[in-house]
Amino acid sequence: MNPFIENPIFLYATGLLVALLLLLGFLRFISLLRTQRTYQHSIVDLINAELPQTQCGHCSYAGCLPYARAIAQGEAINKCAPGGTQTIRRLSWLLNEQREPLDPAHGSLSPATVAVIREEECIGCTKCIQACPVDAISGATKLMHTVIAAECTGCDLCVDPCPVDCIDMIEVQQPPRQWPSPGPNELVPC
């Protein structure tokens, strides 16, 4: 054997080095534990957090969580019309996948809507309340119903069950503070 390797100094040095590396690894592990941010969530939760949560079913799944599960199993990420380009972009970033335009089979990009009940025509059957996934409709049997516009997600799930078709979907007016300002290529001073 190589006498150099048998030299005790070499052994000590190697041992010291290994101990040092182990210590460094341990410290790194501790720091990882301390800075852990997203690792504690499952991938389905992370995907679900990017979906708009209207539960509309346009993606052909029974809600956002089922679609999130399907995406985790390899389903395409471009099926959520209410989320639009933003959701696709964020999912592609999250999953490191190619960004693709919205799948036209699952709806088109359209402005946000809210449901509005034509109140004089409502017969108070409570069908819409049962359909609304976010409890955004207020009313009681045989009494007039109305939509709490601030809570309505615009999923249009309440439209079909209504026996007298008195629910309209109306475009949301964007408050002026949410108008986007011009990007770098559109700025022209006067």
């Binding site: 949560q53 209207t54 933003q86 026996p163 949410q178 108008w179 011009p182 001073p189």
Partner: protein, 524 residues
């Protein structure tokens, strides 16, 4: 390259912290032109347009009506929350409208404005003066500042009283008066200090008493010679100390100034008050003095009119609400060489969309651009990764990397790379050899991030409601199942079926009713 690496490593290794100064550019100052004359009073325009959003925070609520006659100093809009601000009439006259909306350059959003027609008489409301402000309690001082509607006049426009209250609650020990006006063309603070050094120093003493700070430093750039002389002659016997820093851009930024004066670094996404420092602009200090000792609300400010198309660029003492075009006419505008106007200095300024826009409490400078001084945007070349932008960035960011992520709209990566620590100084774009409009990319990305944060918050709210809905439905179903089990006879069953039938009949009847109503309506 190696030197730049060593510079970067110095603070990390823990030495040379004060000596190392990253991120300083030295653009030509262009201040002398407007400093040639003294601060001029402004002849009143025909009408003043007073935005209800002079400040950062909630808009003020008008408390006058169309046709009302108001006096100078009279309140015309009131604060409706803690972060809102009182607004006062800068002169006497008649209210023409209270809801005209104008689009200001910086936010692209319409803001409601009060329009005041000046009667020229300038009749003032009687205000109560205070001879000895040193005898007043700090709470009383704060109240005076709050009532006078003073907000930060350096540009951000945060309500001053609120800022000082935050400072008190965080036990700050140092007050910094920011007079390091580093951006090219802007000279309003320098002019103010040159001519009214006493006011600024007394204002600083008031603010120090109001926020209970142990010490107060007035930070000024070393090239403002006349202002320094004026301050030196006034400062004896006052608790305010003078701190002179080297002139560079952006030395006047809050974080930079705190670092230069104290050596303390403001934490990422924190504020100077988190490390015990309150920073107040010199113009704000003067406004606080007027508020406390003369009882005058904040109705005017010093504004620099600069740019080579103006024959006589100068500083004006401008009533809030004066249109920019009025001021530019006073300076003699040469229409031929005028290429557009910037609100703010040449590096952070925003293009003015409409020259009839008024001066606000936060407007410090208006630059008329000429083709020689502001050449058109040269063709943008690809980023060559030279790294000059990273060397220039005072926030220690990587602008070239932020550019890539901005183009990809990779929101998460932008956040990880600290886009919200970008102070929008524009130093990176100034040094970029490829002429990339980096700052515009960052502004637009920040907006996108804020929008997306709103969307994410909304969807998590919906998720919570949906989860509650599911929980409720499960509970109801369980209760139903239990109910069925306990009622062994089928009477309930019958009743349920019966009620369901009844419901169907009712629905059918109601549908018929509605139909007959409709047909009746059509017939009539």
């Amino acid at each position: 390259m190696a030197i730049s690496w060593a510079k970067r490593a110095c603070p990390v290794l823990g030495f040379g912290k004060r000596g190392v100064k990253l991120g300083a550019i030295k653009p030509p100052p262009h201040k002398l032109e407007s400093l040639r004359s003294r601060i001029m009073p402004t002849p009143l325009p025909e009408r003043l347009v007073l935005s209800l959003q002079q400040h950062q925070g909630d808009a003020s609520i008008p408390c006058v009506e169309v046709g009302d006659k108001v006096l100078k100093f009279q309140a015309i809009a009131e604060a409706n929350s803690e972060s809102s601000l009182n607004l006062h009439a800068p002169t006497s006259g008649t209210i023409l409208s209270v809801d005209q909306s104008l689009v200001f350059s910086d936010s692209m959003t319409p803001e409601a404005c009060i329009v005041l027609e000046c009667d020229g008489a300038d009749n003032a409301l009687k205000v109560s003066t205070t001879r000895d402000y040193r005898a007043l309690e700090h709470e009383h001082l704060l109240q005076r500042i709050e009532e006078a509607g003073v907000c930060g006049m350096g540009g951000a426009g945060y309500p001053t009283a609120l800022k000082l209250r935050h400072g008190i609650s965080k036990n700050i020990d140092l007050l910094l008066i920011n007079a390091a006006e580093c951006e090219p063309y802007i000279s309003c603070d320098e002019a103010l200090l040159r001519e009214r050094a006493k006011e600024v120093i007394q204002g600083a003493e008031i603010i120090q008493a109001a926020c209970l700070a142990n010490s107060c430093q007035l930070v000024i750039e070393s090239n403002m010679n006349e202002a320094i002389d004026a301050l030196r002659s006034e400062i004896t016997g006052s608790s305010v100390q003078l701190k002179i820093v080297a002139p560079s851009y952006p030395a006047g930024d809050e974080r930079q100034i705190v670092f230069a004066a104290t050596g303390r670094e403001t934490p990422s996404s924190g504020l100077p008050i988190d490390i015990g420092v309150v920073v107040v602009n010199a113009g704000t200090a003067a406004a606080c003095l007027h508020a406390v000792s003369k009882g005058q609300p904040c109705i005017s400010r010093v504004v620099t009119l600069a740019g080579s198309p103006l024959r006589t660029p100068k500083n004006f003492d401008v009533p809030i609400g004066t249109p920019i075009s009025h001021l530019q006419t006073l300076c003699g505008m040469d229409e031929q060489s005028h290429q557009g106007t910037l609100a703010g200095g040449s590096l952070m300024g925003q293009p003015v969309l409409n020259l009839d826009l008024p001066i606000k409490k936060t407007s410090n400078c208006v630059v008329a651009m000429s083709a020689q001084e502001f050449p058109a945007q040269e063709p943008v070349l690809p980023c060559i990764r030279c790294g000059y932008c990273a060397d220039a960035c005072p926030a220690h960011l990587l602008p070239q990397q932020l550019l890539v992520f901005s183009k990809q709209q990779a929101v998460e990566a932008l956040e990880d790379h600290g886009l919200f620590d970008c102070i929008e100084c524009g130093a990176c774009a100034y040094v970029c050899p490829s002429k990339i409009p980096l700052l515009q990319y960052y502004r637009s990305s920040k907006e996108l991030m804020l929008l997306e944060a709103g969307v994410t918050a909304r969807s998590s709210h919906w998720q919570q409601r949906f989860q509650y809905f599911q929980y409720r439905r499960k509970r109801v179903n369980q209760q139903r199942a239990e109910g069925k089990q306990s009622a062994s006879d089928n009477s309930q069953q019958v009743e349920q079926e019966f009620s369901r039938d009844k419901a169907r009949e009712e629905i059918a009847a109601a549908v018929a009713r509605v139909k007959s109503k409709k047909s009746k309506n059509q017939a009539s």
